[in-house]
Structure formats: C-alpha cells, structure tokens
Subunit: 583 residues, 2 copies
C-alpha cells in the first residue's frame, strides 16, 4: 500500500519533470525567447536580416541544386522547412538551415544516372538517423571524426565540386563526375566543347564577386552611408551577380532570340511542392528499385551523410554561440526534424550553412525567427519569380559556387598539421586521396578507421616505466604499469617484464607498481600472473604494489595463492625500506 | 670514392648478417638442434613418441575430416606435410601440426553443399596470409583477439561440433548444419531416424573412453609396469576404441553381411595424394566458380581462419615451451609454410593440435623430429591400411570427437569471468550467441569489434583529475590531463574544463597539468586552447604546467600568442607558491 503511494509519487515527479516549463523551454526553445524578450525592434531586425539572407538563399538554393545535379526547384524546396522548423526547435540565433555545397556534392552521386527520388530518400534517412542519434544522446559519435579527417574530407569535396563546376563555367558538355578524378577526366576529354560566351560571362562574374568582396573589407552595418553601401554590396554580392547575369541573358535573348549561345537555367517548376511521403520505390529507365534496393544503392552514404550534416551544425553552433555553450542534443534534434519533415516537401539533405549564418550574424539577426523570413522569401520566389529565374546563366551560378566553396579550403591548416604532427597529416592526406579517387563518403570512412587503428595500436603498446636500483646489495626492479591496460597489450606487457628481468640476479626484488593503473582486464591480469607464478616464483621476490581493490579482487580470482603478494598504501621507497634485507 | 667503399662494406655486413649462422639457426631451427645435441637415445625417444601419436593421429585425421564433411582421406593428407615442414622450421619440440576440430568446424561450411576444393583453397589462402603476417612481423595482430572472444568462440565451436556429431552418434539422417542452431534444428527434425545400433555402440564407446581416461589418472611413463600399462592405455584410448569398433563392425559384417545396421566409414581412397596446385576454379552442380567467386564465397573466413590457426599455435607454443620464451614470428612462418605447401597435397587447414602435442610431451618426444614419424605412420596407413579403415563405425569417431572437443570447454573460466568483469563476460556472451546463430567466423569478428569499441570509448572518456584549493584568498583549479589524449576526447575535455570553471571567481588561477601527458593531437590541442583563449583569457590566470616540449611546440604552432602561459619543471605546489598573490 505504502509502496504503491511512493511509486505513484515518483511517477508524478517524473511526469512533472517531463512536462515542466524547463523541459519545454529546453526542447522547444522558441517558448523561452519569444515570451521573455521579444520586442518590435527585435522583429524588425530579424525581418531585415531574413530578407537579405533570403535573396542570397534563392541564388544558393538554385546553385546547390545544380551541384547535386537536381533541377533548380529542389534547392528552393530544401530551404522552406529549415526556416520554420529550426525557428521552433533551434537555439542558435544565427543558424540558417538548408542545402550546402558539401551535402550537395555527397548527394550528386545518387541523382546522376539515377533520380531525384534518391536525394529525397537520403534526406528522409538522414532525418531518421539524426533523430535517433539525438533521442539516444549519441551525438558524441561525431567526435570520432577527427580534425584531420574533416580537413581532408572538405579538401576532397572542394576539389570535386569546383572541378565539376569548371565544366559549367566553361559551358563544356559531359558529366561533372562523382569524384575529383572523374571531374578532371571529363574536363580533359571535353576541352574542345568549350563555350566562349559562358566562359567570358563566368570569368567576369568571378571578377565582380572578388571585387565586391574586396569592396566590403572592413566596412560594417554601423558605418556611415557610403561604407554601409559597400558593406551591403559585399554581403549581397551573390544576388547582385545573379541579377546582372539575368539582365545579360535577357539582352542576349532580345538580340538573338532562342539562338543565344549563353547556357541558361531554363524552365523551373514554380509553385509550392506537394506535401507527401518520399518515394520508397522508384523506376530509373527500365529498372525498378524497391526500398531495399534503394537502401543498398545509398550504401554507406546513409550513415556518412547525416553525420557530416551534424558535423556542420555543431561547428556552426560552436562558432556562433557565445561561450560555445550550447545543447548539442537539441541542435541535433532540430536538424534531424528539418531533414525528416523536409523530405515530405521534396527537400535534398540539409544542415547549417556557414555562409548564410555569417550573413545573418552580420545583418544583425536577433533570434532564429529570421529563418522564417528566409523561408517566406523562398516561397515568394517559388510563387512569382520563376519566369525571371528562367534567364539565370549557368556559368554565373558556377562562378558563385566556385568562389564560395574555395573559401572552405584552409591550406594554412594543412601546413601547420604537417609541422605539428606527421601522423595527423598522413591521416588527412589519405582521406583526401580516397575522397578524390573513390568517393567522399569512403574518404571519411577510411580516415575514421585509420584514426581508430592508431588509437588501438597506442593502447596495444602503452608506455611501461622500468627502473632499477640496488638496496642493501639486492637488485630491485620496479615496473610501473600505465593508466589503462587493455587485453591487446597483454603480450607486450608480459614480454616487457620478461626482458626487464633477464639480467636480474636470483633473489632480486621485483615490484609491479599499479599506482597509476585504473583498469586491467582479465587477459592482461592472467598474463602478468602467469609470467610471475610460472617463471619467477622460485627466483625472485615479487610484490604487486598499490593496485586498486577491484583489480586485486580480479587477480586473486584468477590465482588464489598470491594474496600475500599484494601490498597497498605505500610508496616504492617505503616498501623497499620496510622489506627484509635478505629472504 | 670513399662513400662507395663505406656503402659496399655496409652491404657486405647486411649480407653477412642475413647469411650468418645465427640467422640460419633462427629461421631453420633444425640446423641448430640436430647438429648440437642429437644422439641415438634422442632418436629412439622421438621414434616411440612419434609412433604413439601417429596411431592417434590416424583416428583423429579421419574423425576431423568427418567434422569438416570431407571424405576421410583428406584428414590424413592434412597430417603429412605438417610433420616434415614443422620439423624443419619449428622450434617447439612437442608441437604436432595437423587438422583440429576447431579448424574443421570452420571449414565444414564450405564443403557442405559445395566441394572439397574450397577446403583446399582455404588452406592455401591461410598459408599465404600466415606467411605474409610472418614476413611483415604482423603476428601481434592476434593479440587483438581477447581472452573473452577466444573463450566465446571455443564455446560456440564446441557446441556446434558436438551437436553436429550427436547426429552421427545416433546414426540419424540429415545435415550437421553450419551453426549450433542449425545442428539442434536438424536433431529435432530427424529424431525419428535414430539408429539404435549406432547409438548403443556410440554410447558404449564414450563410456570406454571415459573409463580409460580415469584409469590413467596419476600414472606416468616412469611408473612400474602395471601403472605404466594403465598410463599407456589412457594415452592410446582413441586408437583402442577405434580398433574395438573395427572388430565389432567386422563381426557384424560376418554375421549380417552388407545388411549390417551399423553405419561405417566405407571406401576410403588409399594411396598418396598427388602433388598439384590447389584448384583455383571449380564446378559445383551446374555452377562454375572462378577464383574471384571462390574468394567471395570464402568471404571473411579467409581472414578469420588463418588467425584462429595462429592463435592455436601460439597458445600451444606458450604452453609447451619452457619459460614461454619462443620466437612468435618463427612459429607463424612454420605453420604458414605447413598450410601453404600442404594445400598442394590436398590438405585441409592445419594448425598445432593441443591433444596430440600433449601426447608427444607425455610420451617424451625430445625434438620436432617426432613429427616426421607421425607423418610416416600416416603415409603407411594411406598405403596399406585403408581396407581395414573401411570398417570404422562412424559412431565411434563421433564419440571420440565429442569427448575430445568437450574437454576444450572451460565453464569455470566463464564463471570467474562473470565474477571478475561483467564487461568481459558480456563480450564473451555476445561472441557465443553470434557463433551459435550466425556462424563461428562472425562471432569472432563481432567479438573483436566489440572489444575495439570498448577501447575506443575508453579513450574517448579518459579520467581527468580536478582539484580545487584556496591560496592567499584566491581560488586555484588544477586540471590534470590523462596520459594519452586523443581527438575523440577533445569535446569531453573541453566540456569538463568548462564545467569545472563554472563556479570560479573572476581572477582565479587555473592550472592545466600535463605532467603525465605523453601525447596530444591537434584536435584536442585546438579545443583546449580555444576554450581558454576565447572564453577565459580575460577572467582567469591560466598556466599550462609541465607539458613536454613536443606538445608545447604543437600548441604554440596553433596559437602563437600564448608562449608565456607554458611553465615547466615545477610541481603544482611550487608554482602556486611562486605566483604573485594578486594580479
């Protein structure tokens, strides 16, 4: 009776905790910031920032769809959900969730030669995987992707995306390829299909972009009017070149009609996407793929892609949150939901975008609500501006992609890696090579596995400190075991001890020092005990010093006779002092 | 000119080292023991031991071929090469190389439903893998198979082999199955096909074997005549029951002719196998397998099998070499050659046999030459005794296998594992379950991966010691980093430091103690530096204490401004003493 009461009280407490205001604020952060400090001035700042980023987002959306080899509307679809969902669930006020060049490059492989259904399914799966990681607090798994692997992967991705876009910049025919090597091969094979119009406009676009970027250097929102315009022109440079591009293409159209040489985007499907389940089976050419076959086709990508997506989100949250003090799990859940729900609107995989987040910050966005305005701009474009986008020259988008992606490349980081750690440089290098030749996802996998092997080998060959001394004419050997002793170092430890004792006189004193040792597993314990009981019991005096009680219990369990050999609570010096001079 | 001389002297020295007597003795150990201490008395002891083991080996060879679902002669072929090759290259005088129950169980899968060609190819590949591991000194890889995984694998193998043999013991029809679960299923489905003759003879054989074993308890080679006979009867018990079985089957044949109910071995292909390359392509039924397809069919087995084979060799070498002081690489090369060359004689995969090695020891074998006599006995049997073996009842072999394999099961080890380490018991348990349901090789793989994950997680969550004190009214926080700091613990360390500093007063003194730290990678270094430079620089006084020069160099490379923050050669206490009371 009493038990039941206690139980029901406990249950009530748990329920109260789950439905408390604190939990609500934590899991639905909008409930906190919108009630606590939202004012009209905040709204206006968010609105202006949202509109500025929205204009850039339209250009980026169409461009990243091009990187993924999808038709342009998919890039825009991908920008709708992010704004709304992240505003509800996200914490970081400058985060802009949507497609990125890196994720588009990962997606391209399944669109090229297959169909857009694979891209949408990848988004759905990414969402599921991310939600699972979030719910089970497994976000720390991304910590197993080390700095060198990330640098290597990004380098590989930049090389692949940019070589792929060179093709479009030069208006060449052929395929962008699924790897850097394939992209290079394609450029080489099709160099004679170069379109001079595209090339000229593309290169001019790049020059304008670089110029506008230079123009804004050192200027900010709070400067005087001219400098403020320079700052804004720099910020809106992507939109500016796209508008220029449209005007140029339209003039060409007016002069030459549809015979214009400039390669343009063409028809885009306008209007909102319909809300529906992603396709779980699809037909490409004559071949029908059921769900299982689609999963097999996506392969390791279905794990690598959501992890990379999380990695980008975490990096951005770290960079844009004061004190880097944010709730990783909540960010993972927010992005997971963006992808999961996004897939119902035909979104390609999304994550936080560094470039758009930076613009949000510099235009002074105050809350995640700015994202909603970005989404509204996208919806507006889809509804009314599609006929205008018809004239966007592809080479302008390529120029835009090449420059924004190139900024991800950090050669100084590689150089400092070479200087500080040849091992890490090696991991980075292998990752780049595999990314460029086999595929981006395999590069990440190989890099991670390589890193893990290094950890394993390190724990297989720990540092064991030996010291020798002579006390009262007796040889004393002290062998200090490391902090963690794993099974894979068992043989090594046994051999090290054997080697150390080779030249000892009979009747020497051997001290195995476990002061620093936190854990030992049975394989090692057995090996150490074996080495001593079998070989040395009759020759030497052996003491196991300062092993913690759990380890002692385990070692005794494995060999009952040795209890007297364990000594605790002494330093090596004291033990030797107190031991009988002769046995 | 001078350079060239030095070079050629160096070359000469290298050549001299390679072709020195020491290297010869090391890589061809027979050249040492046969020239140094071989006498007639040694020869006679080796001869007697070899003959005794030879008789057992014949029975075992046929029995293990039955376990692998191969025809009996393959088991005998597998015993020929081992004796000769190991005698030339091996160091351990009691090692008997040949087929074992465990390896036969691993092989069975490819023979059942396929063909013997797969078994021979598996031997060839095992030899190649082992020679590669030996030449590149990669034998330590077997150290990554932990005690719990070995125990789990052996348990799974024993369950599978013995349940498979129960079918034969009871003379039931059906298939032995590729896993324990399949074997149990088969027993259940075919229980009504039980043959009473086989069952009775099989059970009686088991009783005789147990009795003979009991009889020899405590007796040895050096006892008086009656006890010596008891010792020998115990040793030769396998041969004895096979002989009894042949007699019984022959009597049945005399009484009932070929209508006898007893299931016997039947025709065995006598004579020596021909020396030829293993088949690199084969046809099973209508399907032709080329080399690539054969490899794909063998799958992970082609890695797991040679490693298990090495594991058995190392365990035996350890057990039978005084001081456990043997050359692992040489043993690996010796067994690798046995398999590689054995495959040319149609051998199934071989390794050291614990039971035969134990008999060699107790019959007093002095050198590896005893193995040659074992091989000669096998050749003799193949030449002249095959018509006799025709009558070996299968149930007798099953009884023999069941008892010898059951002795590999160490339940007390599992109990002590449960008591000493729940984690290791868990690994063992998972290994057993996967071995019994999916397959032995997968059990090993899952177990090894599980162990590795534990190591990785341990290095992702190292112990970080924090201590707080108050000196001159100032808060002091000391954070001691662990021995090894890997990238995967970067986030964890950053968060731990952040948490530790939450309640500190402004102007506190933070000491990051790297006295024990051996290595840090750039990911971690960056994280630590970031945490401090971004967040705390203005609030606290920070010192990095006793980091080794390499780490300091790396950290400075990542953040140049901080050189003054590194202090070396002091204890924490001294540092605090010397620091200015107020800043």
């Amino acid at each position: 009776m009493k038990m039941k009461t206690i139980d029901s009280v406990k249950k009530k407490n748990v329920l109260r905790k789950i439905f408390s205001k604190k939990t609500l604020n934590r899991r639905l952060p909008i409930t906190k910031w919108i009630t606590e400090s939202y004012k009209l001035s905040t709204f206006i700042q968010d609105l202006l920032a949202g509109i500025t980023v929205g204009a850039t987002a339209v250009a980026q959306g169409i461009a990243f769809a091009m990187v993924a080899d999808l038709s342009p509307e998919y890039g825009l679809y991908s920008l709708i959900t992010g704004g709304f969902i992240y505003t509800l669930f996200g914490n970081c006020r400058n985060m802009s969730v949507g497609p990125t060049a890196i994720l588009s490059a990962l997606t391209a492989k399944f669109v090229r030669g297959l169909s857009s259904d694979f891209a949408v399914l990848a988004t759905f799966l990414a969402g599921l995987v991310q939600l699972t990681l979030g719910v089970f607090q497994l976000g720390f798994l991304v910590e197993f992707i080390s700095g060198p692997v990330i640098t290597g992967f990004i380098t590989g991705a930049v090389l692949q995306v940019n070589c792929g876009q060179l093709k479009t910049l030069f208006g060449m025919s052929g395929d962008a390829g699924n790897t850097f090597v394939e992209a290079i091969e394609n450029l080489y094979r099709n160099y004679n299909t170069l379109n001079i119009w595209d090339t000229v406009l593309g290169v001019v676009t790049m020059l304008i972009l670089l110029l506008l970027k230079k123009l804004g250097d050192g200027c900010s929102r709070n400067d005087s009017s001219i400098r403020k315009i320079r700052w804004f022109a720099c910020l809106a440079r992507n939109t500016i070149v796209v508008v220029i591009g449209i005007v140029v293409a339209f003039i060409c159209y007016l002069i030459w009609g549809s015979g214009s040489e400039l390669t343009i985007i063409g028809e885009i499907k306008g209007g909102m996407p319909s809300f529906q389940l992603p396709a779980f089976s699809t037909t490409v050419g004559n071949q029908t793929y059921d769900f299982k076959q689609m999963l097999e086709t996506l392969g390791p990508q279905s794990i690598v892609l959501p992890l990379i997506s999380l990695l980008e989100v975490v990096v951005i949250a770290k960079a844009f949150t004061p004190d880097s003090n944010f709730d990783t799990t909540q960010e993972i859940l927010a992005v997971g939901l963006c992808n999961f729900l996004g897939s119902f609107l035909g979104s390609m995989p999304t994550t936080g975008s560094f470039s758009r987040s930076a613009i949000l910050k510099s235009t002074g966005a105050q809350t995640p609500l700015a994202g909603v305005f970005v989404s509204l701009i996208i919806i507006l474009s889809l509804s009314v501006l599609m006929s205008l986008f018809y004239f966007i020259p592809k080479c302008v988008l390529a120029a835009l992609i090449i420059l924004s992606v190139a900024s991800l490349l950090h050669t100084e980081e590689m150089i400092s890696m070479w200087k500080t750690s040849k091992k890490e440089f090696f991991v980075m290098f292998v990752t780049v090579i595999v990314c460029c030749t086999v595929g981006l996802e395999y590069g990440v996998i190989v890099g991670v596995v390589l890193d893990m092997l290094f950890i394993l080998f390190k724990s297989a060959r720990p540092r064991i400190n030996e010291s020798r001394m002579k006390i009262n004419g007796r040889d004393v050997l002290v062998v200090a075991l490391p902090e963690t002793v794993s099974y894979c170092s068992a043989e090594y430890i046994r051999k090290t001890i054997l080697r150390a004792t080779v030249n000892l006189n009979i009747n020497s004193f051997i001290i195995i020092d476990g002061t620093n040792t936190l854990s030992v597993d049975t394989t090692v314990a057995k090996n150490i005990m074996d080495a001593f009981t079998d070989t040395y019991e009759n020759h030497f005096q052996i003491v196991f010093l300062n092993f913690n009680p759990d380890i002692v219990k385990m070692m005794l369990e494995l060999n009952f006779r040795q209890k007297s050999k364990f000594v605790n609570g002494m330093t090596v010096e004291k033990l030797i002092e107190n031991s009988p001079g002769n046995v």
